[in-house]
């Protein structure tokens, strides 16, 4: 089957709902145009049925939903840098706390090295020495653990909307 130069004419006639009487002779001779006419009529019927089936929401509803969504997206865009800054601040706080903890550990009084020496010198007093280590290390470990627990909690509370 070959194309026909009168195809647009046939389609236009069907699109405009015109009667095809004036094209009847041509449609009888031209298989391509006859096929187009049949197909276009079928699609027109299908479109009419589809448009009839359509239960579209009201324009106001579509507008309202779009407005809500657009505002939410705008709000998200605005809040992105703030969230990022808060995240960085939280990470810095945790880093600082860890650094301070490490510094405090190194600056522990000489009693710690004395303690090691005393362990070497007097193994029999090991139990006492262990207690001393615990006495110094425990508050520090607890502080560090508190930082690790509190920092994410604080970050969550800072970022939560409500």
């Amino acid at each position: 089957m070959t194309e026909c130069t009168r195809e647009p004419e046939v389609i236009e006639a069907i699109a405009q709902g015109r009667h095809l009487d004036e094209l009847r002779d041509h449609l009888a001779r031209c298989a391509a145009c006859a096929e187009i006419a049949a197909m276009a009529a079928m699609f027109r019927d299908e479109r009419r049925a589809a448009v009839g089936d359509a239960h579209i929401p009201a324009a106001g509803t579509v507008w309202w939903r779009s407005t809500i969504r657009a505002r939410a997206e705008a709000a998200r865009t605005v809040s992105q840098p703030i969230t990022l800054a808060q995240g960085i601040a939280g990470a810095c706080a945790i880093g600082l706390a860890s650094g301070l903890a490490a510094l405090a550990w190194r600056l522990l009084p000489a009693s710690f090295s004395d303690l090691i020496l005393s362990i070497d010198a007097r193994r029999e007093e090991f139990a006492t020495a262990s207690a001393l280590v615990l006495q110094h290390a425990l508050p520090l470990a607890l502080g560090l653990a508190a930082c690790l627990v509190i920092a994410p909690l604080a970050l969550y509370l800072a970022l939560a909307d409500d």
Binding site: M39, E46, A49, R71
Partner: protein
Amino acid sequence: MTLSTVERFGAGTAEADELFQMDEDAFRLFYERTARSVWAYLSRMTGDPRLADDLLQETYYRFLRATHAPTDEAHRKNYLFRIATNLVYDTRRRPRVDAVPMHDHLEHADPRQPDHAAGAARRVDLSRAMARLKPRERALLWLAYAQGSSHKEIADTLGLKAASIKLLLFRARRRLAALLGEGAR
């Protein structure tokens, strides 16, 4: 993001107008003129009326948010159909499990009404044949014969060259005719 945040940023209607490329009154008029055609197109392109409902909202949302949307009515309509077409293509890339074939409800046509039954049967044949076409072929045929769009408009909508539309349409038509012939046998 909660509703309270949304409410904080959404103080008034004037702000909504600033977010979109047209005001509410213009949108309402445009929507009333185009929504049914767009829904019909989406429904027949996807073969799923429920999906068409979702895509209709998404189409108009993207249209409203477009920063370089055309200003004249004809181009606006083409642009709207272009968005709809892209959404259909995107949807086809994602698998769906709950799609309902569009001709299911047609199969329950009343056989006591011959005209109605014949029309329904024709529609079932067409929808089955359409389902076996490629999305682009489906879009070409729908825009050309159901919408009555010109080759230039089809080219604008589908992002193709106007010169290639005639040949593509011819091939799509031949393929559909072959599928309808298969179905009739």
